[in-house]
Structure formats: structure tokens, C-alpha cells
């Protein structure tokens, strides 16, 4: 099997597992308990916090553990909204291709009286700091722009956006769920006020995440109860998962330059191979993209049938077609970069793992070529395009 869906989730690393196991069976005390056994769990928790903080160039006090990226996104937006509302600022700037954890929270805030500006995304899957600067108003409470897109992998100019926001005195949050462990992150240099990440995207366990919030930003609770996480996130800490996440992030960051170099080589080999398929296109900028991400549209086929046939060949991948999302519309990300519906249905995302080999890349290329050709041969759309009855959308 070739697992090429690492943007969906990843395998827990040996280092993460080794960090988790003792917390399950040995250091299993409650970090809130007074006795030494509980306090040793507390020490492990604070150790994990400090290590994660170092990876982000943050202070440990700025790290809050959550159940994952979605919770961190929700809490960041709720925090900024509450802070803004106190000063009469009820305008939020974001982009049209954010993750639904952002977009659906913004929908909820809109119903509560906030005005939302969603910046248009260019065809290459990027926005500019200038667009952000032009959208900022005196009543803007927050700018939230994802670090790297989960579908098409494009990496936004985060440091430039951070500089614009800091200069204008507007809070800046970034959903870094796809970036953490895969791209260098420095919350100070990039002038990021809040950042969300998720442990299972970089070989940590599922069900754990982080909200970084710069010192001085008073978080709004989503979950009330005990005094954990400085009263800002109640519930007994999931220490095994947190310890695993810290180990995974440290390991990823330590090997970042070598894995990046290797992945970019494999990614570009895959992109070159798939580009040979006629009437197809790479989605998202070829350079400003995650080292692991390849996303294509193939005209005249539908993504779900593509995924099922790739599955038969032992390949795990994903698509932005409506049929795979369970909704009637194809991916909002592909629509946001201007792909027409009929083309967006024929999309394929391959997100590579660090251990992918040349042979596996070649197998991916050959398999996708086979399946696309097979499906096109039974597609009335393909016939009609080839008979000149309608124009091709993709050259």
C-alpha cells in the first residue's frame, strides 16, 4: 500500500509512541493532583509545553493544549471576537479557502453580528499582504489567514501579513495545521499573535492540538470547568497524547531541512509525471507549496471513481469532488481559485510521506495515468470534448 494522504492524517512516529507509552502505564497520575505521583505527570506536561514552545519560538506560557486544530481555531476566533467586541470592533478578515473550522466559526460569528470579509484567492492559490492591508478597517478585530492550504498546499506570505497586521494594530491568527512540523515557524519573527496546530498532522497522535496565543491575549473559554490550562481550557490533560505530540513536533523540526529537500524532489518528480496527462493542471503555485502536496485536476473524469480505482491499486489518496465530500458542491478551495465545477469534480490530492521512494513515485504516476485514461474512455464528456462539440477547459 502507498499511503499518499498524509494531509488527512499521519502515522504515529516511533519517537512519539515511545514518549506516549510511559504516560499511559507509568506516569498515569492526574497532573492536577497534589501528591508527588501526580506532580510527576505535571512535570511531563510542562516539559512537553516547553518543548513545543521552543519549536515555535514561543514562551511556554503562550501554549494552550486543546483537543486538536479545530478546537484551537474555534478558540482563537472566539477570543479575538470577544476582545474586539469589547472595543466595538466587529469586523474580521479571512480568506475564501480557509479550513471549515475557520469558515464555519466565522459563519457563526456573522450570525452574532460580526461582519466578515473573505479575501479572494488568486488562481495560483495565494493571497498578498497588500490585499490584507487594503481590507483592514478601523473596526477590524482580527485577520485570520491559513499558513498552508490543506487541499492545494499553497503557502501564504505569513511574515508579510504579520508585519501588516502588527503595524496596523490588528490581531493576526494563522491556522498552521498543515504547516507545523513541515515548514519553519517562528511566531516572533513572523509577528503571529495566535496560531493553531494539530498533533496528528506531523506523526503525533490524534485528538490533540495547540493554541499559541501571544502574552497579553486573554483567551476566551470554549470549555468551562476545572482550572487546567490556566483556567482557559477545562478538562484533565491528555498527557499521553500531548507527550507524543511534543516528541513528534521536535523530531519533525529537527529533521526539517533534510525532509523538505527530499520531499520537494519527490513532489516535483510526481508533478512532472502527472503533467504529462493531457488536459490536466496542477492546482496551486508550483513553488510556494508544501513539500508534500500534489493536487491536480483532470478534465472529464470524476474524483470518486478515480479514488476507488486507485484504492484497488493500493493507493490511498483524496479528492475535492462533491461525491467524496458527501455534499453536492465540489471543494470550496478549488472553486475559490477559479476552477469551474465540472473541472473541480475531477481533482486528486496526493500528500506524500517522508519515506516515499522513487519507485513509489513512479508507481503513483503510472497508476494515475492508467486510471485517468480508463475513466476518460467511458466518459461522454471526454468524447464530446474530443469530437470538438465543446471546448476543453484545461489546455
Amino acid at each position: 500500500m502507498i499511503y499518499a494522504d498524509n494531509a488527512a492524517t499521519t502515522k504515529v512516529s516511533e519517537a512519539a509512541l515511545a514518549a506516549m507509552l510511559p504516560c499511559l502505564t507509568q506516569v498515569y497520575g492526574n497532573p492536577s493532583s497534589l501528591y508527588a505521583f501526580g506532580q510527576s505527570a505535571k512535570e511531563q506536561l510542562e516539559d512537553a509545553r516547553a518543548r513545543i514552545a521552543r519549536c515555535l519560538h514561543a514562551d511556554p506560557k503562550e501554549i494552550t493544549f486543546t483537543s486538536g486544530g479545530s478546537e484551537a481555531d474555534n478558540q482563537a476566533l472566539r477570543t479575538a471576537a470577544a476582545l474586539g467586541a469589547k472595543k466595538g470592533k466587529k469586523h474580521i478578515i479571512s480568506t475564501a479557502f480557509e479550513h471549515h473550522a475557520i469558515l464555519h466559526t466565522l459563519d457563526a460569528l456573522k450570525k452574532e453580528g460580526f461582519e466578515i470579509t473573505l479575501l479572494d484567492v488568486h488562481e495560483n492559490g495565494l493571497i498578498t499582504a497588500q490585499q490584507v492591508a487594503e481590507a483592514i478597517r478601523p473596526d477590524t478585530a482580527l485577520v485570520t489567514v491559513m499558513f498552508a492550504n490543506n487541499e492545494i498546499g499553497t503557502v501564504q506570505p505569513i511574515a508579510e501579513i504579520g508585519a501588516v497586521c502588527r503595524e496596523k494594530g490588528v490581531l493576526f491568527h494563522t491556522d498552521a495545521v498543515q504547516a507545523a512540523g513541515h515548514l519553519p515557524i517562528d511566531v516572533q519573527a513572523m509577528q503571529i499573535d495566535m496560531l493553531s496546530l494539530s498533533g496528528h498532522k506531523f506523526h503525533g497522535p490524534k485528538g490533540t492540538g495547540v493554541l499559541y496565543a501571544r502574552k497579553g491575549i486573554r483567551l476566551e473559554n470554549l470549555i468551562y470547568g476545572g482550572a487546567q490550562e490556566r483556567n482557559k481550557r477545562a478538562g484533565t490533560e491528555n498527557l499521553p497524547a500531548i507527550a507524543g505530540m511534543a516528541a513528534a513536533l521536535e523530531e519533525s523540526v529537527a529533521h526539517l531541512s533534510e525532509t523538505t529537500e527530499k520531499l520537494i524532489r519527490q513532489r516535483d518528480r510526481l508533478i512532472r509525471g502527472l503533467s504529462e496527462i493531457p488536459h490536466s493542471t496542477l492546482n496551486g503555485d508550483a513553488v510556494h507549496r508544501l513539500p508534500s502536496n500534489v493536487n491536480f485536476c483532470f478534465e472529464a473524469i470524476e474524483g470518486e471513481s478515480l479514488l476507488l480505482l486507485l484504492d484497488d491499486k493500493g493507493i490511498c489518496a483524496s479528492s475535492g469532488s462533491a461525491c467524496t465530500s458527501g455534499s453536492l458542491d465540489p471543494s470550496h478551495v478549488l472553486l475559490a481559485i477559479g476552477r469551474p465545477h465540472e473541472v473541480a469534480h475531477g481533482s486528486l490530492r496526493l500528500s506524500l510521506g517522508e519515506d516515499i521512494t522513487d519507485d513509489e513515485i513512479d508507481y503513483l504516476i503510472a497508476s494515475v495515468k492508467d486510471v485517468v485514461t480508463y475513466l476518460r474512455n467511458m466518459s461522454p464528456v471526454w468524447r464530446s470534448l474530443n469530437e470538438g462539440k465543446q471546448p476543453f477547459v484545461l489546455p
Partner: protein, 147 residues
């Protein structure tokens, strides 16, 4: 549990009657590329008017696994049958023959029924055969995106 039944996967992996019939007696195309599925059915019809037989049937489909499987099953259900029987084919019969479809995929079986009826209607129209338009009323499948 798998998304689809074994029957669906069999018809998806090994679709029956894929292709085109040149100079077909009836052709029906339904669906919308914007919605992600289009089905096209070709019929070769023989026999006296009123007792026609579907001698051959082929399909082309752009769509998901269940759209391809539904087209394949629908063509199998009508191949070699009297034309009048094709008109009584229901999406329910297609779904049952496939051992069921997930709820959000039932519209694929509706498309298969409509594609076959559209091909029969095309045959009637081409040959000036009178019919009750009520038989070809479009179903009330949910409308998608993009429209």
C-alpha cells in the same frame, strides 16, 4: 464497512455494456457536468412497431462509482428485453439489483432510469411514434450546485 456493496463494486470495476452504438436507434443523455455526473445510453432496437426488442444497449458515464455501477446495472436489466419493459424500469429496481446504494447516492439510480427513458423517448421521436408524455416526466431528484 465498505462504502458500497460487493455488487456495486463489481459493476463499477467490471462495467457491462460500456461503449457507443454507431447510428443508434435511440440515444439519451441526462445529468450535468457541473453536478459531477452525466449518463449517456445508446439503444439498438429491432422488431415491429409495438413489439420492439432492445437488441443492444451501451452506455458512457462521467461520474462517481455508483453512477458507473448504476448505468452498468440498468443496461444489463434491459438488454434483450421488449422496449415496453425498459419503460417500466425504476430506479428502485436498479438499486435493489445492486444490493442497495448509500442514501446520498440514490440519485445515481434515478439518473440511470432517466437516461434509459430519454433514449426510448428519442427512439419514439425519431420514428414519429405517439406516446404519453407523462411517461417521461422528469423525476424530482435534488438539484445540485452550480445551477
Amino acid at each position: 464497512m465498505a462504502l458500497y456493496s460487493e455488487k456495486v463494486m463489481d459493476h463499477f470495476r467490471n462495467p457491462r455494456n460500456v461503449g457507443v452504438i454507431e447510428n443508434a436507434d435511440g440515444v439519451g443523455e441526462v445529468g450535468n457536468a457541473k453536478c459531477g455526473d452525466i449518463m449517456k445510453i445508446y439503444l439498438k432496437i429491432t422488431g415491429e412497431q409495438g413489439s420492439e426488442i432492445i437488441e443492444d444497449v451501451k452506455f458512457e458515464t462521467f461520474g462517481c462509482g455508483s453512477a458507473i455501477a448504476s448505468s452498468s446495472m440498468a443496461t444489463e436489466l434491459i438488454a434483450g428485453k421488449p422496449l415496453s419493459e425498459a419503460l417500466t424500469l425504476t430506479n428502485k429496481a436498479v438499486t435493489e439489483a445492486l444490493d442497495g446504494l448509500p442514501a446520498h447516492k440514490l440519485h445515481c439510480s434515478v439518473l440511470a432510469e432517466e437516461a434509459i427513458k430519454a433514449a426510448v423517448k428519442d427512439y419514439y421521436d425519431k420514428n414519429g411514434i405517439a406516446y404519453d408524455p407523462e411517461q417521461f416526466r422528469e423525476g424530482d431528484e435534488p438539484h445540485c450546485c452550480g445551477d
